[in-house]
């Protein structure tokens, strides 16, 4: 093996890193189903899967419908305890044969790999996403990063096949510096890709919060040194193991802020359902405070409050809308209200991707829009900031509206139209806010469900695949 070229931290970084200590955590993780099958899980976990459930799952072992090969089963004690009180959480975290009934779908519908210039980096917009960890404390059954988490071999742009690797600090810092140097020399645009400066990096995975404080601190320091203005940490650890956000972690963040006061931290948190953060009474109901609001799980609320009181940190929640978990307007209404009340912004809700092994989780686009719209009835303006987003190859696209008014002369138009709005073009900012209108198809779970009913395509979501709007076809 060739000797690795090491990243050399600056004096400021070294001084910051020397203050950081790692906390001690015992997540009491159970990985795999073996311990449930042989009964060696702790007493209170026995029965989490029924005998029938385990038999049905184990029957698929080693076949093309193997659930554990698709996504390893993994749960923390904290999340297990919440799951006991929540059907939604059970669906989120328990393996089910439904996952592999229908294996239709694409390997990579967002074509992520075509945006990966360096191992472990996806570069879109002015934002780079880096994979810094290959696991999470627990595993969502609907996770679409299964190729990373389950360590599957994937085909690269150049045709080679290998498992996805993690980002290395030196590689990423070198890439950011070189990209931004070329952009600056070329009046604000990259000479080949036309992209802007890389200003923001999203640490993802896997979950960066499974890493120790020292490891996270090295990334924060190095990215700041490279000129990154805002660092995002994408994490579901507030739901899986809120105790991870302990004194040693916040001491690290405070030391980081002192060393790099210009860098903004954006915690991109991931709650799918209010059962993940709200306390319940013995009857399973949320507990109302006399002075307003609902009672939270104490450890989760304490962690959120620690973030919220630091003015240089933003907290935003993002969640897909998933069948059997949160395709529920009432749950989403409570979630948006309680998150906002405690300092967490509601950013995006997502349509699930049309990806292999995801049919059991997909909610049709129009239904997802309807669920979110219903959930926002009765919310105040600031509580209802979240939009429904679907990730087109061109970029983040909002499902802006679904109408019920007849639009004659187009397939699906008897039920109305769907209006998509390109929020951010992954390659080129000027395409922002262009619109595409299609006839309705209430079964559609991806753009392809509208190929035969495009009315107007200013955003070029379809024409980039040589699919013409009906008006253009009629004119020919």
């Amino acid at each position: 093996m060739a000797p690795k070229e090491k990243y050399i931290p600056s004096e400021t970084e070294k001084a910051f890193l020397s203050t950081v200590t790692n906390g001690k955590y015992d997540r009491e993780i159970i990985t795999g189903l073996k311990k449930f099958v042989d009964g060696s899980v702790p007493q209170d976990m026995q029965g989490f899967y029924s005998k029938e459930e385990l038999d049905a799952i184990m029957e698929l072992d080693g076949t093309d419908k193997d659930l554990q090969a698709r996504m390893p089963v993994k749960i923390t004690r904290h999340y297990f305890e919440q799951a006991l009180k929540s059907k939604a959480i059970q669906t989120l975290v328990k393996a089910s044969p439904k996952e592999t009934y229908d294996l239709d779908g694409a390997e990579d519908p967002g074509k992520q790999m075509s945006y990966s210039p360096v191992e472990g980096l996806i570069h879109k917009y002015e934002l780079g996403l880096i994979y810094v960890a290959s696991t999470c404390s627990a595993h969502c059954r609907f996770c679409y990063r299964e190729e990373l988490i389950a360590k599957k071999e994937i085909t690269r742009e150049d045709g080679t096949v290998a498992a996805k690797g993690l980002a290395k600090i030196k590689d990423i810092v070198d890439y950011v510096l070189e990209h931004n140097r070329l952009v600056d020399e070329n009046s604000g645009r990259h000479p080949e890709t036309n992209r802007e400066r890389l200003r923001e990096i999203l640490m993802s995975g896997g979950d960066p919060m499974v890493l120790g404080n020292k490891n996270i601190a090295q990334w924060l320091g190095a990215l700041s040194e490279a000129g990154i203005e805002s660092i995002r940490i994408g994490t579901k650890e507030l739901a899986f193991y809120p105790e991870r956000f302990d004194e040693t972690f916040f001491a690290m963040l405070d030391a980081f802020h002192e060393a790099y006061p210009q860098t903004n931290l954006r915690m991109m948190v991931h709650f799918n359902h209010p059962d993940e953060f709200l306390a319940k009474d013995p009857d399973g109901n949320y507990i109302e405070h006399a002075q307003g609001g609902l009672e939270w799980i104490p450890a989760t609320r304490a962690s959120v409050k620690e973030f919220a009181r630091r003015s240089w940190i933003n907290i935003d929640n993002q969640s897909p809308i998933i069948a059997g978990i949160n395709d529920d307007s009432d749950a989403l209404r409570i979630m948006q209200r309680e998150l906002k009340r405690n300092g967490v912004e509601n950013h995006y809700f997502f349509c699930g991707r049309d990806i292999v092994g995801h049919k059991a989780f997909n909610v049709p686009i129009e239904k997802a829009w309807h669920i979110l719209n219903e959930s926002q009835k009765g919310l105040s303006g600031v509580e209802a900031h979240a939009r429904l987003s679907i990730t087109h190859y061109k970029g983040k696209t909002e499902v802006a509206a679904v109408t019920n008014t007849l639009f004659p002369g187009v397939k699906g138009g008897e039920n109305g139209v769907v209006i998509f709005k390109l929020l951010r073009s992954a390659a080129d900012a000027p395409d922002r806010c262009k619109v595409t209108i299609v006839g309705r198809n209430e079964e559609a779970i991806w753009f392809s469900g509208y190929d035969d009913r495009v009315i107007m395509d200013e955003a070029e979501l379809f024409s980039m695949y040589d699919i013409q709007p009906l008006t253009a076809i009629a004119a020919e």
């Binding site: 790692n22 001690k24 997540r27 993780i29 990985t31 795999g32 311990k35 290959s134 499974v210 020292k214």
Partner: protein, 112 residues
């Protein structure tokens, strides 16, 4: 669940695992490394990098190595944490693959 270091690490101690571990859950004795079962996050990264193939997923432990789980747990409590890769023990190559290494395990706690 956790990952477990077994007998073929004894007298070798290559420490490649320490370099890749994302959570620094390795602890070091005079001639052996162990994994703290509570701190391990089951990422699987250490298994492939071990030149001595000494690390196993708890569920994949061969029958005759199952007792190493308790040994890892016991020694992780008393040995110091190791966070940086270092040179293997001088005779690592010679000891790699030798049978019955457990009798050479030094459980003493390093000074300082």
């Amino acid at each position: 669940m956790t990952y477990v270091v077994t007998d073929n690490c004894i007298q070798c101690k290559y420490t490649d695992c320490v370099e890749v571990c994302p959570v620094e859950c390795f602890y070091e004795g005079p001639n052996f490394l162990v994994i703290h079962p509570g701190e391990c996050i089951d990422c699987d990264d250490c298994v492939d990098v071990c030149p001595a193939n000494a690390i196993f997923n708890e569920d994949d432990l061969p029958e005759d190595k199952k007792h190493f789980l308790a040994l890892n747990e016991e020694l992780a409590q008393i040995w110091p944490q190791i966070t940086d890769q270092k040179d293997p023990l001088p005779d690592a190559a010679k000891w790699d693959g030798v049978a019955g290494k457990l009798e050479h395990l030094d459980k003493s706690v390093p000074e300082g």
